[in-house]
Symmetry: D2
Amino acid sequence: MGLRTVEQYKTSLRDGRLVYFRGERVKDVTQHSVLGVAVNHAAIDYEIAHQPEYRDLAVSVDAATGQEYSRYFSIPTNAEDLVKRSELIETSTRLGRTLVVLIKEIGTDCLFALHLLSRRMDEELGTNYFARVRAIYEHCRSDDLAMAVAQTDVKGDRSRGPAEQEHPDYYVRVVDRQRDGIIVRGAKVHTSVTPNANELFVIPTRNLTAADADYALAFCIPLNTPGLKQIASPYGSGHDNSFTHPISSRHKMMETLTIFDDVFVPNERVFMNGEWQFAGALARTFVQFHRFTAISYKLPLLDLLIGSALLIAEQNGIARVSHVREKLTWLISYAETVRMLTKMAAMHCSLEDGIAIPDTAAVNIAKLHFASNYHEALMRVQDLTGGLLVTAPGEEDLRNPETGEYIDHYLRGAGGVSAEQRLRTINLISDLTTGDFGGYQSVLAIHAEGSLEAEKLTILREYDQARVKSYARWVAGDST
Amino acid sequence: MGLRTVEQYKTSLRDGRLVYFRGERVKDVTQHSVLGVAVNHAAIDYEIAHQPEYRDLAVSVDAATGQEYSRYFSIPTNAEDLVKRSELIETSTRLGRTLVVLIKEIGTDCLFALHLLSRRMDEELGTNYFARVRAIYEHCRSDDLAMAVAQTDVKGDRSRGPAEQEHPDYYVRVVDRQRDGIIVRGAKVHTSVTPNANELFVIPTRNLTAADADYALAFCIPLNTPGLKQIASPYGSGHDNSFTHPISSRHKMMETLTIFDDVFVPNERVFMNGEWQFAGALARTFVQFHRFTAISYKLPLLDLLIGSALLIAEQNGIARVSHVREKLTWLISYAETVRMLTKMAAMHCSLEDGIAIPDTAAVNIAKLHFASNYHEALMRVQDLTGGLLVTAPGEEDLRNPETGEYIDHYLRGAGGVSAEQRLRTINLISDLTTGDFGGYQSVLAIHAEGSLEAEKLTILREYDQARVKSYARWVAGDST
Amino acid sequence: MGLRTVEQYKTSLRDGRLVYFRGERVKDVTQHSVLGVAVNHAAIDYEIAHQPEYRDLAVSVDAATGQEYSRYFSIPTNAEDLVKRSELIETSTRLGRTLVVLIKEIGTDCLFALHLLSRRMDEELGTNYFARVRAIYEHCRSDDLAMAVAQTDVKGDRSRGPAEQEHPDYYVRVVDRQRDGIIVRGAKVHTSVTPNANELFVIPTRNLTAADADYALAFCIPLNTPGLKQIASPYGSGHDNSFTHPISSRHKMMETLTIFDDVFVPNERVFMNGEWQFAGALARTFVQFHRFTAISYKLPLLDLLIGSALLIAEQNGIARVSHVREKLTWLISYAETVRMLTKMAAMHCSLEDGIAIPDTAAVNIAKLHFASNYHEALMRVQDLTGGLLVTAPGEEDLRNPETGEYIDHYLRGAGGVSAEQRLRTINLISDLTTGDFGGYQSVLAIHAEGSLEAEKLTILREYDQARVKSYARWVAGDST
Amino acid sequence: MGLRTVEQYKTSLRDGRLVYFRGERVKDVTQHSVLGVAVNHAAIDYEIAHQPEYRDLAVSVDAATGQEYSRYFSIPTNAEDLVKRSELIETSTRLGRTLVVLIKEIGTDCLFALHLLSRRMDEELGTNYFARVRAIYEHCRSDDLAMAVAQTDVKGDRSRGPAEQEHPDYYVRVVDRQRDGIIVRGAKVHTSVTPNANELFVIPTRNLTAADADYALAFCIPLNTPGLKQIASPYGSGHDNSFTHPISSRHKMMETLTIFDDVFVPNERVFMNGEWQFAGALARTFVQFHRFTAISYKLPLLDLLIGSALLIAEQNGIARVSHVREKLTWLISYAETVRMLTKMAAMHCSLEDGIAIPDTAAVNIAKLHFASNYHEALMRVQDLTGGLLVTAPGEEDLRNPETGEYIDHYLRGAGGVSAEQRLRTINLISDLTTGDFGGYQSVLAIHAEGSLEAEKLTILREYDQARVKSYARWVAGDST
């Protein structure tokens, strides 16, 4: 099929899928006042493949067939591939005004992990998953599909495993195994882009034990599969004024509570079915790729924090003030550290079965650095901007001549900046840091792609302790 | 007149005042869908005076006349008075679900400062302001009026003084002095509760020089005074669902850009008119009282951060986890430090002309401690809550049986907590930390009642450096 | 006997006690080149009782007998008593150039706790300890004795209780119970002022179980008791130049590994003997008083950090620079927060059996605030001072005319400050922040009187969670 | 001459140089009890060139002549060269037990900067400095010399330039220009390794104006040049016990106040003589190379902090405790961030006149990250270790059988670790974090190679602001 157009993409979403939004079933996600914004946002990943300036970055060519396909599907084999993938993710997010597009990023992260794990399962357990993974990969790539990944189970009591819960459905599980497929029940939360994807990948969220074998599951289904029900979150909807909400009036990502109401999955779309020993490894390998995606897509957000802080500092006439410069320097150091560690994650990659995996330490330290300082970054940007973040007049006041002339007269900025320009900068920062969208970004910072604690765990676990302990023993004169 | 009822208060706001909201003039602020919420919120200060449980705290009795009046008007004369005032402010804010009521707090902060400064001006310059201040104080107190204070000028280029700007109107000024009054022009920003107050006090925002004499102005006018125009900010309006927005659907404060379009102020309502030497002192004395109000009204907000964090930790089943306990302890230490410093600010007050002034160091250190750690507090609370902060289903989904049963089944919390209960806790935290209201509180934290930098300046300036330098010299053996 | 003189105190230390220092037995602690410095330092607590300017603060009078005694022994019965006690501790530490004197502070902290716990044990278990505590209290007070407290056991494997260790001696225990007393074996670490105290109190360090009954022990013995052996730490000894080490050349505290080599303790000096149920409570009650002592004695240290930072900023000519002022403000806010919380701990005390106990929250939050920011404070002070902290010439270079004239010429400070003056300030800061003494203070900050983690635990445990959770439930609209 | 031996190096230091230590002239720096330690430490840079395992790293071969020389002198021409240089610096510092060797590092940093700046001066001003720089470079490289760099002037009043001071000597200057050379007067502080180097480079420390032309000076002289006088700092001397001070008893760096008492410098050794326009650029270019050296030599120190923290956590039996793991993770993230940014600084180098310059952003952000978190790192390591850091018995107590058996019995660690092993770990951490050496490292962290503020300034100045401001304008919808 080749690279799809935006229209082809939209058409594909009118497929009878079952999506609820604020208690009502959505007829057509592409036409819905809220979900439609998410569809248009996601379309960026289709648009750039057709725009000359991004074509080189966004499109790969199959060496064997000469066929073009989206670079997202290109399986990285070396540092350079990872650098390019990172640039592509950064670029589409930049066009998304700091909101990641995700409909190809996350799915390919999952496909890369499935490549690695299916081969390992086949080798160690004699299963035949790799061929299925290859087939679904070819399908998604050649049809240029949009993909979502459902990983986080609803979990119930977090101190207990799947099999020890109050009821058995807190983690997605197999309830029946039939000749040609399996029946799946359960629910996943925080599934992003589900209402506007074509395929949904489902993978485990944690280590499992033998008792949890029915929860060791990985598969992929189309989003109109019978029994699959999405309850979309209303969070952050309803901002349609591009003056006060320059980002969130144009860009949106949907998350759903995704219900598997005894869904049938045919065997050829099942990639794990009881192999509990590999559940944790699959979860972690996906996350490893996905955190690299994450730090790549955070870069435009960080650029925008600095850029808007620099702009407003000038427009407020305080750019030369010492404490202002201190705050700007902090923001730059913060952002550039994440950027350089992201680059390092690509450059220090390791190879497994010919697939380049971003460096674990770099990825997790970058992610943790980003996440644990994000709220402090917001504080600094808000500090430089001023109270107008939450007290500014509306666009209608600016346009109404009765009030507009006062606004023009009184809210001008330094250096001949008009009140409108200054209010645009302020509204941008307000959208970015204070309202629904600002809150969304701040929650994503600490929860998306795994929590702060998960990142810390990985950093400690992967560190080469022997090297530094042996050095410490030598310096201490401990010859034991 | 005595203590007004809520109805009397509301009636008083239908007085022809000129308020714009999103480009349109507001007919009746009490009936407006957004401003009406703010009116109802402000009414708390009238309600509690009539509620038996709060009466002792909320009502004072004039020793001379036996007449009852709102305790807010009670001029503090000792530590105990300040402790009571702080408790009253905390209590009304608690009823306001962490949003300060402010319609009596801020006006009395200003009146206390005017008492002190008018007497000083009279003594040093031979003016006759004190009597006028007393008269307006009696007027506001006996009529139980709601008051706003306009202090922050629009400022233009912040590196220049009022008289050095591109145009002369960046600070409010006298443009004409007539026999019976003055004509005032200019604009103030971030004026809180203006649309639903009765009287507006206007005071300077900074130190002035002789060249700025026309900007040295303090006065008070009714909010329907001709030429007075309010442009109310649309920020944070439109949240009417109490399930998803339990705070902001019920409570609101309005801020305005307040225009003085050649407003006439009669002499008896003018309290400073050219005495530039006292402009800075008046600004600072008001802020000193007002920051004490601020740290008092922040206490319910801090309590709610801890309370909701404790609740969600239990409902998520993670309350015994080590890193969770660490975060809870941090929140408690943070909040209790502010609380104890606030108490100390009252107890270490100083007396001036018989008026008790809260301790400068305690007030400013408490405020700075609150403000500079607030965003980090949000991070910790969000961290404990999880991604459902921004991905939860809506109330309609819970009520719709088609979807509600799934939500019931899958989103329950630990210890038998229903999905609805857990979602209520999560939505509370979402309202408090992520959306418009969360953003509003975070911007208030660092900008209201003066910036972080202003607080730092005060702390350094007021510190007794001689004491510690002399100790250092002695220890160093420096006998010079 | 009444208030002892310094000479009486010193004489009392020549009593045959067994103290080792760097492998050799110390003949006379008062004459020893290192331990003698500690004796002289401790003598401050005797000197001030005889100095007119401190007499009121340092001396109490027994209402019944009219006899004078050291105020340290005054059992606090209200907030004012605690305020005075705090001032006395602060004052003696100030004379000790930021090093706490401790020989009466810590012992009375222990005595107060024993008063409370012995009465509880007597009431609940029918023991007869209170009378013994009263007798030892009278003895210490009337003879004006110096006291040490041994609390921290050596602990072995910290994840196990006393009875579960590799050998039974990792916690001090009873090995024999005889008619007239008990035989005690074990060791305590970090015992301060042991070499120059008269009496040693021994108490448990943690909660115990029934299996640990032999470890539930409290008693008091003279420091020359047979079998009691001290191994004093050589850390920080040998700094005798008051120019380069203005504090540590004059002031020193000794810590010992304290060995109980089958020591006999007569019954009348035993205050707990198997009552494991009260071990934790005694440990915690002592710590509660002792942490209040700690935050009181930290105040001169904090003052000196600020004072020396202000001095060197002036002498370096950078006092008006913006980032310097920022750092000074940070230091002031840090120190004053501790000071105000310390005051609050006294003022919010609770009463138990007529004894005033400092407020738990205030004490622990103050201690934690002090400890967790101390290293950052050092960084700021060092930052303002400059590299001369570790590269300055010695006093001999200043005195040698061949080199002294260069130093005079080149190392002068701003505002006519001589090189000697400036070097004195720098050396003070060097002694305070970089060398053995600086390191000693930094380790004390985080380990003395319990670790950071112990303080956090107490803060969380003592907090009134119900109050804030109920508020959160109300705001959330959760009516369950 | 080729690669010198340690003996040849030591012999070269007996050359009549004038060094004062604690008021006395040092006869032979190699035999002195304190300076001799520094000589032995510096000898590491000579030893490794002869050790087979380090040879490849430490020795380069001249492609033209086939002659071997120390790799330090190898002028970097690409990323790989910088990576190797960084590894060499890291390796020698590792052998120096975290203390940088510096006698070749700093001098070559200076030579690289002089290469670049002399060529620019020659081109723009027609001077002939490049040839002189090449000659001195050949001299140092072929004779394998040890070099010091004197940059920091004594500065007097820091708010004034060199020509505006109270006396003209606060910055090093030319006092006479003669036919064959110049006469130089002034003093530099914090000059490292001066007593044990062969050549001393002198360069400016700041931007200069035309009025400061006499201060625009760069030259190189042997350390026995008449009129050159060194006053060495006594800081940190006298630790000779390798049990209690495993690092500082074996390794030392000397700093001097370096006096230029009308020193004659022949023309061929002068590289700047009045060209004030280039003073700032030379200072900054040197610092750029030198900060790269700095972040390279900090890596073993960071490794040792982690390594010793891991060891003591195990030996204390707390390695599995949650807050301990949190602290270890923090340390790892801190250290690895610096390591990865250091690598990035090499890999993102820029080329100028064929010389590879480390990336400015990476270098300065790495250095700032290191420096601004160092004290917090110390706190964490001390926290994990415990109070024995400053209360442990001495080696003599361990060796004395009377006391040693108690120590053996009571101070053992978890997992069968002997008391001696555990004390060695604790003493290592004590040396590293608390005493003179710990203090020295902490002051170096924030002052060596430029202050925190200097690093911040560079980060802000070098950042590409236009890129992010233009992005912010686009997102804001500001089309101006």
